[in-house]
Symmetry: C2
Subunit: 204 residues, 2 copies
Amino acid sequence: MATQRARNPRGEGARLRDEILDAARLITEEHGEQAVTLRSVARSVGIAAPSIYAHFPDRDAILDALVDEAFAELSAVISAARAAQTDPLSSLRAGCAAYVDFAIRRPHQYQLAFGDRERNTSPRASATAAFEGLVNSVQACVEAGASSSTDPFGDAIAIWVALHGYATMHASRPAFPWPATDTTLDRIVDGLAGLSASPSIRPR
Amino acid sequence: MATQRARNPRGEGARLRDEILDAARLITEEHGEQAVTLRSVARSVGIAAPSIYAHFPDRDAILDALVDEAFAELSAVISAARAAQTDPLSSLRAGCAAYVDFAIRRPHQYQLAFGDRERNTSPRASATAAFEGLVNSVQACVEAGASSSTDPFGDAIAIWVALHGYATMHASRPAFPWPATDTTLDRIVDGLAGLSASPSIRPR
DNA sequence: TGTACATCAGTGAACGCGCGTTCACTGATGTAC
DNA sequence: TGTACATCAGTGAACGCGCGTTCACTGATGTAC
């Protein structure tokens, strides 16, 4: 692939940065972050590996940029899903569904963002914002009388980790006899956000 | 470490297999599975790398043995924790607590067992047994009148993935303001096993 | 209008590293005669 | 009791690989005079 590549016109060298990022994103999507090497990216773009250094100081900087992208995209799809609903309860459910949908649709991006990397020492602003959105969403359900939660922060944590666990297990153990995603998802959200008296009998 | 090592007496060559496994287990515990290489294991044992081939066909066989060990240990601690309780409700809670405790105490072993490895195509018997134990535990709570669950299998899935999510997130994001483990754990189990009317007001 | 020069967008060869794995071997210990 | 031999428990050197990174460079394009 990309056997001959026209060099960018003078003054447009920065375009290569985007090409590198596009290639790295695609490799991550298809093969996971460990497949993103300077050489694999360079091969995919059609350049020599050292050319990357004009745009990124090292391999980690590329992955860092991809993590930022992933968090931004995740935040965006959650916000959009929430905004499409009118009541707080539907909004909470839609946001959670969007989170899991992203994790399942783009498992390697999700893994890049939420995996146990050393990079995770500094939390991303967009990740923090997304979590606060979840807390607020539970709180809104309480205020609307749809939730009996007395600790939206703690309940949001429970919901968040449960969604995360579902997404990662679902991706890594395809042989398991999973029920439909909606079923498990509703059970998690309803059970952990104080939306019903019992987990198996859900109001809907 | 292990600068001089006495070779095993004649007929006792199989002992080296255990030494290799011990070293690999220790390396996994301390640095994660990616640090387990034939050369790192050999260095740790005090042998030449090719000596490993007399006992394991390749690197993956070592990791496979470690996965078996991890599942066996996890099953054992869960069973022990359950058996120490007399009523079904305490037993369910104790089993879940033991699961998370193992995952937090030995994050790299847990990751080895439940990470998204290609090796996961064939489910381990001990893993299946442990999950069935969880389903039965929820069922026992229903029969004892402690749970209102109408679908123990589905609820066990929800509990399992939530515990998994908590364990992995807790390990990978130490900077997050986590509440006490017991708090979140009880909320997950109670909320998803039909043990209370609302997640924040738990009966205990 | 022509030419010297600076800048830009890259390249190609090479480095040292750790890895899994193969190969021919070594030296101690037991056993058959 | 002595000796040839088989077996056992390993070893040391080497292979090819892909990696991140460094280095000196090339060739096209614009600009100053």
